[in-house]
């Protein structure tokens, strides 16, 4: 399949997933107990006329399908609706928040790629104490949930040592990086361990193959063997696991943002879902779905680049 056709097919699939996701989210929010009005009125008993005015403004008194159609028609025109809680346009609200989330996920991805793959390769090629300590270390951190990691990191590096701030986003690029370091580590830590372990296994397997043994026996420089025969072939499983873990960061992100009181899309989504702020939930969910799909497309493109035998749109061997 040509790259153009592949991307077109993926785009169609993306639109279909967005439509399905938006309907499912809209439907589940509609069915979930509680009313947006109780968040809106803080539970205060308002006069019936006030309630009616609010219901009409947010189309809460219309049937489910009409409400969904109203939202969809607006969304197709680029208007994601108004937040009930903030009384402001959802797109504007998401604008500032998206940068925090994107920065956090990218930072964590970088840590996973550099440290995770690096440690895995090192452990795979150097049996002995490096390998053993990597295995033990990753066994512990792989089981460490991000919220627990967050508590430990804050207690040690923010409160005790004072190296990093305990919460908030910071202002300016350097300050942002400083503020996002602990959250990114918390977000990355368990995925990092999994990537390291899969990388180690892949490298170990490739290193034991016959053609590698042959190459070694023929006296080809070890560096070349590692680069051309081991890493090249191990790249496919490494890319797969890295892609999956990075995509999953998008989902786990909400936990870390909440734990560090970061103002990002994830924490905002959780809050909005609690308050039944439908337009915000829809808007953020759709952004996350898009991000998820895009990461997967990148992984697919990487497969084709890494192994010419794989044609786009088919599963790697």
């Amino acid at each position: 399949m040509s790259r153009g056709r592949f991307l077109l097919r993926r785009l169609t699939m993306l639109l279909a997933s967005l439509l399905v996701a938006s309907f499912v989210i809209f439907g589940s929010m509609y069915l979930a107990p509680g009313s947006a009005l109780s968040a809106l009125t803080g539970g205060r008993a308002l006069p019936p006329a006030s309630m009616a005015a609010l219901q009409q403004r947010y189309h809460l008194n219309q049937p489910f399908l009409a409400q969904y159609w109203y939202w969809l028609a607006n969304a197709l025109h680029g208007n994601l609706g108004t937040s009930i809680e903030w009384r402001e346009n959802v797109t504007t609200l998401m604008g500032g928040l998206a940068w925090t989330t994107a920065g956090l996920v990218l930072y964590a991805s970088l840590i996973i790629c550099v440290l995770g793959i690096g440690l895995g390769v090192l452990a795979g090629l150097r049996p002995g104490w490096v390998d053993t300590s990597t295995l033990v270390g990753t066994a512990v951190t792989a089981a460490l949930p991000s919220f627990a990691a967050a508590m430990v990191l804050v207690a040690v590096f923010a409160v005790q040592l004072g190296w990093f701030p305990a919460l908030g986003n910071g202002a300016g690029l350097l300050d942002n990086v400083r503020h996002l370091t602990l959250p990114a580590i918390a977000l990355a830590i368990s995925s990092l361990a999994i990537v390291a372990r899969v990388t180690r296994a892949a490298v170990r397997e490739e290193a034991g193959r016959e053609h590698v043994q042959t190459a070694v026996s023929r006296g080809i420089p070890y560096r070349d063997i590692v680069r051309r025969h081991i890493l090249r072939n191990a790249a496919i499983p490494i890319t797969t696991i890295t892609g999956i873990t990075i995509a999953s960061l998008i989902a786990v992100d909400a936990v870390v943002e909440t734990a560090f009181s970061l103002n990002g899309l994830g924490a905002f989504l959780v809050k909005a879902a609690q308050d039944k702020d439908l337009a915000v939930v829809q808007g953020i969910s759709l952004v996350l779905v898009i991000a998820f799909v895009v990461v997967n497309v990148i992984v697919d493109l990487l497969y084709a680049a890494l192994d010419p035998r794989i044609s786009l749109g088919t599963a790697p061997a």
């Binding site: 107990p33 509680g34 109780s38 809106l40 009125t41 803080g42 539970g43 205060r44 008993a45 308002l46 006069p47 006329a49 006030s50 309630m51 005015a53 609010l54 403004r57 809680e85 903030w86 009384r87 402001e88 346009n89 504007t92 609200l93 500032g96 928040l97 940068w99 925090t100 508590m151 804050v154 207690a155 923010a158 409160v159 004072g162 701030p165 305990a166 919460l167 908030g168 986003n169 202002a171 909440t258 734990a259 560090f260 009181s261 103002n263 990002g264 924490a267 905002f268 809050k271 609690q274 308050d275």
Partner: protein, 547 residues
């Protein structure tokens, strides 16, 4: 990890449903004496005024501020932000007394409230505060189609009109001295008419901003960066605050809050429902913990219209069997006192001597199991079942429910729990079908101004917005109705005190404890209001560096 949340259940009154931290206390720790603050410690309404300029301070609220429109202000974050920057017609001082604010009130007749606007008062943009601004602001509060929270408090208002160059007169259908208190809180905030009309429905949102009169003006506001307020160099009272910039930021997680305060990332916060780490913060030299008069009451709402709790003797027995000290220790870490009335004694904002006298004479609600068992035997309800609505996700609610459960079992009642998720807890206040079969549920509740009647009227009067059990007591009704129309503060206080004393006997709700107002502030800062008045009046005008 949400901490707490409020539901206003009434005109002028807020029902606080505590969504407290998931970390921390269990039922078994309810009897441990972790509190090291003496309940009789002297409370401070203010902290010493700041002496040195400070470039900026970060102030934490339990979640992001989501509206700066006083019409929609009903919860701690919004109130904290609006009271920082905006001012009302009348001003609540830290002791709860009502003073002239943007205007001075005279009442030539009980049905005529005349407001003389201070001619010096100006908005941030330099425009003077005019009668048109005042009338517009009040009309907006009363406008039902905006869906604001305070329409009900204007129920006795007949007309609002300009009656002089700097004068606005409110004519009432019936005398209503409660309106004075309301107009010193969110319902009385004055905003600029031309600005609000220009912004339309964007007023009070991050897109539209606000235009007020306070010593701090809004610089920027977004969900990602919080509310940033800067000192207003042209403040009409002629003083400029020492702290040049205050950022209000939402910190939902208690561990973050504690770490932030200890590391200096946060310079201050008002507690809105029990900080589990208060002990730790009190020992930390980076911060100072102040306790001021609280206006909130932690109570058990009675919603039973039949069954054992509909019997006053059973309510009295349950109240007598309750171990309140364990709640003070475990939920409030000592920052609460034993109740005598439904009102927290922090709300004696007027007629103080009359209130104090009556309060002194009232008994403290101490534990007395023998007396409680006697009452249960008289009522003949032993072995019957009561149902408590609660949320096990909210540790403070769970602890209090546990204490009541223990008390009920000790006097021979059976208890079933209806436990819901933290965010659904609000439905007990708003949805009658949710309350069906539920005999009681816990709350923290407060009025908009320092008057015991501000809370009691919603609980004990027929048709009161929080009168869930159709409670009615002719004496309470008569005293409250009369107090509303009584001009003399001491006489009004005496009437309200009588109603409170009676309510402490007939228990429309069961008072649990009286939380104090907890202020945690960097030890480098001083000058913030320490009483609950911070919710309704500027609290940072005297804030500054320690000299």
């Amino acid at each position: 990890m949400t901490r707490r949340r409020i539901s206003i259940a009434a005109a002028g009154v807020v029902a606080v449903a505590l969504l407290a931290s998931a970390c921390g206390r269990s039922l078994s720790s309810a009897d441990s004496t972790t509190g090291n603050i003496s309940p009789t410690a002297n409370l401070v309404a203010t902290t010493p005024a700041g002496a040195k300029p400070v470039s900026q301070a970060v102030w934490a609220v339990y979640r992001d501020v989501n509206s700066l429109d006083p019409v929609y202000a009903f919860d701690y974050p919004e109130n904290t932000a609006i009271s920082l920057m905006c001012e009302s017609l009348l001003l609540q001082n830290p002791n709860g007394g009502i003073e002239p604010g943007l205007a001075t009130l005279t009442t030539p007749t009980p049905k005529t409230f005349v407001f003389a606007i201070n001619p010096k008062a100006t908005f941030w943009d330099g425009h003077p505060v005019t009668p048109a601004d005042v009338i517009y602001s009040l009309d907006r509060q009363m406008n039902v189609s905006l869906g604001g929270f305070y329409t009900g408090v204007f129920s006795n208002v007949k007309t609002i009109a300009q009656t002089g160059q700097d004068q606005v007169t409110i004519s009432l259908k019936a005398p209503d001295y409660w309106l004075e208190g309301e107009l010193s809180s969110m319902a009385g905030v004055v905003i600029e008419k031309s600005y609000a009309e220009k912004e339309g429905k964007n007023y009070g949102t991050p897109a539209g901003g606000i235009m007020c009169t306070g010593a701090y003006e809004l610089k920027s506001w977004s969900p990602s960066a919080g509310v940033v307020a800067v000192a207003n160099p042209h403040y009409w009272r002629g003083t400029t605050p020492l702290v040049k910039q205050i950022t209000l930021t939402g910190v939902p997680d208690n561990n973050d809050l504690t770490a932030g305060l200890e590391t200096g990332a946060i310079q201050g916060t008002y507690d809105s429902g029990g900080i589990p780490t208060l002990d730790e913060l009190m020992k930390n030299t980076a911060v100072k913990v102040y306790q001021g008069p609280g206006w909130a009451t932690d109570a058990m709402i009675i919603s039973a219209t039949s069954g054992p709790l509909a019997n006053v003797k059973v309510r009295q027995a349950l109240s007598l069997a309750l171990n309140r000290q364990s709640i003070i220790n475990s939920v409030y870490k000592g920052a609460a006192t034993m109740p005598k009335w439904l009102a927290n004694p922090g709300v004696f904002g007027y007629g103080t001597s009359a209130f104090d006298r009556a309060y002194q004479a009232s008994p403290t609600m101490t534990e007395n199991l023998a007396e409680a068992r006697k009452l249960i035997a008289q009522a003949g309800v032993a072995g019957q079942t009561i149902t408590i609505g609660t949320s096990s996700e909210v540790s403070s609610l769970a602890v209090e429910t546990g204490a009541y459960q223990q008390a009920a079992v000790a006097i021979g009642l059976k208890v079933t729990l209806k436990s819901v998720s933290a965010q659904d807890f609000i439905n007990f206040f708003t949805d009658p079908s949710y309350r069906k079969g539920v005999d009681m549920f816990p709350t923290v509740n407060y009025g908009d101004y320092a008057d015991p009647a501000a809370l009691l009227d919603t609980i004990a009067l027929a048709g009161g917005s929080q009168n869930y059990d159709n409670f009615s007591d002719p004496q309470i009704t008569a005293d409250l109705d009369q107090s509303r129309t009584t001009a003399n503060p001491d006489q009004r206080a005496a009437l309200v005190a009588k109603a409170e004393q009676r309510a402490a006997q007939t228990l429309p709700w069961i008072p649990t404890v009286d939380p104090t107002n907890v202020l945690v502030m960097s030890s480098k800062l001083t000058g913030a209001t320490a009483s609950f008045a911070y919710m309704f009046a500027p609290w940072a005008n005297s804030l500054g560096g320690v000299g």
